[in-house]
Amino acid sequence: MRTGVFHVFRAKSTIVSTGGAGTLYKSYTADSTDSGAQIWMCPYCVGSGYAMGFRQGAELSSLEQRWVATRTKDFCGPVDTISVGYKAPIINCKDEKVMSRYAHLGGDAAPRYIRANAPMEEWLAGRGPCYCDTRNMAPDTVKAMMTDYLNERPSFVLFLASRGQDVTKEPIEIYGSDPYIMGGHTMGGFWVEMDRMTTVPGLFAAGETAGGNPNKFVGGCAAEGKLAARGAIAYMKQAEPLPSQDSRELAEQIEAEKARVFAPLLRGADYDGVSPREMKDRLQRLMDEYAGGTSQFYRTNEERLDYALKHIAMLQSQFQYLKAADLHELMEANETMDRVDVSEAVVHHLKARKETRWAGWQTRSDYPERDDVNFDCFVETRRDPETGVVTAFTRPYEQLVPGDRQKA
C-alpha cells in the first residue's frame, strides 16, 4: 500500500481469516455527505477473503443467512450494551414492550433474528419509532453506560452530545442495521470441514470467513483459529512439494494476477473510466433495493433477485473501466471488485432458499413460510474458476451434537 510492491506468498497451506463483508448493501445514512461508512461492522471488511477463495472454486455456505442487527438509529452502534447490559427494554412509540408481542417465541429470549427484526416490523406497522427505554436509569448508571460506550464505541457518546440528548429524558432510538455477511454471528462463509479446510485443498478458513457454524463470536473465532492452525499444519506435513520457483505455469499465474490487480492504476491519468467509489455506490443501491436491504425491510423476491444478478453481471463486465489515481484508490478498486463478486454469491443464495426461515435475515416475500420438507439443509454456491459461472446446491443437515435441536 505504501510502495506498490506485489508480494507473492508460496505456502503448502493457507488460512484465510479476513473477516466478513459489510458495505455490500447501502446503509440508510449513506448519501452525499460524510456519513458513507456509518455501519456497525467494520467498513474495511469487504469480503475479500470470500472473493479470493470463491474465484478459485472454494464453496461458500449459507450467505443467505445475513446478519441484520438492531442497532442505535442513524449511528448504527451497539445496542446489547444497553438492552442486555443495562436492561433497558425495547419499546415502540406507544410505550408498549415490543418483545411481548413475541411471547410465544420466547419474548426477550426469542431467537435472535426475531429480536433483530422486531423494531423494523413495528416501524412498518406504523408503531415506530422504537427505543431502548433508558428513561428510568439512575444518573450514575447512565455514566457507567457512557463509560462502557467510550470503551466499546467512543464516538457514540459524541453522537448523543451532538443531539444534546439526555437519555434519561429521551430514550435511545433503535432501528435495523444494513445486512452483513459473516460467519461469527450468522453462518455465512466458506464451507469447512472439522479441520477448517475449505473445498479447495490446502485452503483453510477461520473466524468470520468460515461459515456453517454460527454464534461463534470473538471466543469462538479464536478457538476456530486454533483448529484451523492445527488443520493447516497437518495438511502441510502430507502435502505435495511446492512447484519449483522456475515453473512456467507459476510465473504465468503470477503475471495474470498482477495484471488483474494493477490494471486500474495502469490505465493512465487521462483514462476516461469509472471510479471505484461510483461502482461501490451503484452496487450498494442495487443490493439494497433488489436483494433485501434496509429500505426494503429486508424483503426480496425472485424477480428482484434476477434483476440484481443481471446488473451484477454488467458491473463485472465493467471492471475493465475501473480507474485508480494512486495506491489507496487501487486498493479501493480491488475491494470494489471483491464486493461485486461476493454480492453475486449472496444473491444466488437468496434465490436458492425458496422459503423464509430467518425473517429479517432472509425474507422471501414470494415464499413467506418455512419449508422444512425442502430446505432444512444448507444452501451452497460454487463458482467455476474457468467460466466464472456460479451454481447453487444444497448440503444436508447432519446433527453433530446430541439432544433436541430446537432447544438451546
Binding site: D34, S35, Q38, C42, T147, P154, S155, A161
Partner: protein, 114 residues
C-alpha cells in the same frame, strides 16, 4: 466522522516514516500531505469514526466530528491519554461538559512477573 487535523498543532510526526495517525487508521484514510507537512484525511466519507487517529496523536491535533447528517453543530469529545487510563472530555451542543475516565489497561501485577 471526518477527522479534522488542526494545522497549528500537527507537526507531521517528523521522527517517523509514517505519521502515527496514518499507521493507526484501519481504513488507510490518513496520510501526510507533502505540500503542507501536515496530516489529512483523504476520504472523510469513508471514515468510521473509530477515533484511533484522535487517540494516537501525541499533539492532540486531531478532532473527530459528527457529520451533519447525524449530529448537530457542534459537540466535541476529546480523549486525553494517560498511563493505563483515558480521560474523555465531552461538550455537547448546548455547552454542557462532562468528564469520563476509565482504565483501558490493567496495571501490571508485579507478582505475575517471571
Amino acid at each position: 466522522m471526518p477527522p479534522r487535523v488542526l494545522p497549528n498543532k500537527c507537526n507531521g510526526c517528523p521522527d517517523r516514516a509514517e505519521t502515527r495517525c496514518e499507521e493507526a487508521c484501519p481504513g488507510d484514510l490518513m496520510a501526510l500531505d507533502p505540500a503542507t507537512g501536515k496530516a489529512f484525511c483523504r476520504a472523510t466519507r469513508d471514515c468510521w469514526d473509530c477515533m484511533s487517529c484522535t487517540k494516537v496523536c501525541p499533539c492532540g491535533a486531531i478532532e473527530t466530528r459528527m457529520p451533519y447528517q447525524l449530529g448537530y453543530h457542534k459537540a466535541s469529545l476529546r480523549p486525553i491519554m494517560a498511563k493505563n487510563r483515558i480521560i474523555w472530555k465531552c461538550v455537547d451542543i448546548n455547552g454542557q461538559e462532562t468528564t469520563y475516565e476509565y482504565a483501558n489497561r490493567l496495571a501490571p501485577k508485579t507478582d505475575d512477573l517471571p
